[in-house]
Amino acid sequence: MARMPQGQPRPVPDPDGDRYDEMLRQERLRRARAEADEAGPPGASVGHPELLESLIPVWGSGREAVADFQEGDYAGAALNGALAASDLFLAGAIVKGVAKGGVYTVGKMAAKKATKKATKTTPYNWDAKVRPWMGAQGYLAKGQAGHHWAIPQNGWGKGVPERIKNQPWNIKPMPEGPAGAEMHGRMTGRYKGKPKFNALERYIYGTPAWSKTATGAAVGHPAAAAKAESEKRR
């Protein structure tokens, strides 16, 4: 609009003005689209791992958790996050176990000329050999009972060689003090007037944390992988 000398405005015809406005609008739209493409679509994720990748401890479930979270699947993210945490716990348990010796071995039998007397001994005997070693390595505290949780010492476990069943992996430390003695007693029968634990109680109190975690991981990883695969197909 031009201002005339008398100070009164008056319209001036502008045949290209509308086209120019339209051109500017199109240009703004084009730029907005380009910026959006550069930033990625809303809710973009790192992507889910492939089936085999999802089975890799920590990495598979960790990536799955991040992808689920970015896509707004918070339940899936929580499940996979828990799986990744359980993998880390298991790895920590293995490292700690190895740091303490992990497996009881008998060095004395390595002597080339083992005598008849040496072969008479029971080198993996629980109370004269392995238990003192486990105490010295810090697996069991003073006065703390150790429970053979997977392979019992007696019953069907009698037929299992001592070198297999008398090992740290098969020993679940009971709580220290009288409560631990009672708990150990109730694993296999009545103890001082108290009833035997039921199957669930025996599982809760009688299996090590790493075993429960491993069970969860063994079930959880394939389940999470199957869930991710089915979501991919959809």
Partner: protein
């Protein structure tokens, strides 16, 4: 004069979880057995100062332990090295002590059993896994009674370690 076997070694409790001043005993079934020491024992000096009582009741004190080399095979050594139980041949310098009587040996072993209940308890027997629950003290007393009933070092060794 070399020790005869089986022999019993009295040593101090050592290691990260040890109770200072506590005496424990270990068995050696043969001279080869005595000549091997694992990495953990070497690290904590478990054999240093140990009193060895042989099958003829002669006794010695271990005054020094020198590592000679690894016990083959190599793969077994390496595997057990990772588990901190690597076996080494060792040379031990022994200082002769006065011989002791069988009763003195029994007394010393009995005292060690009673002061180290954790080393001699059968947890499953106490829990009653295979019969009625056993009393821990009665179990230890039975071990001491077995030691006292033996008529030789070899009989004690068989009672404790050849079950």
């Amino acid at each position: 004069m070399s020790p005869t076997f089986p022999a019993i070694g009295f040593r101090q409790d050592v290691g990260r979880y040890a109770t200072p001043g506590l005496e424990k005993f270990v068995e050696f079934s043969s001279s080869e057995d005595f000549a091997i020491c694992n990495g953990w024992e070497l690290k904590y000096g478990a054999r240093n100062g140990m009193v060895l009582v042989d099958s003829e009741l002669r006794s010695w004190r271990v005054v020094s332990v020198t590592r000679l080399g690894i016990v083959p095979p190599l793969w077994s050594f390496l595997l057990r090295f990772l588990l901190q139980q690597a076996p080494y041949w060792v040379d031990q310098e022994l200082e002769p002590l006065e011989p002791i009587t069988l009763d003195q040996l029994k007394d010393r072993m009995a005292a060690s059993v009673l002061s180290n209940p954790d080393d001699w308890r059968d947890d499953e027997a106490i829990a009653g896994e295979d019969g009625p629950p056993q009393d821990e003290q009665e179990m230890l007393d039975a071990r001491v009674a077995g030691i006292r009933a033996a008529d030789s070092v070899e009989a004690i060794w068989e009672f404790l370690y050849c079950r």
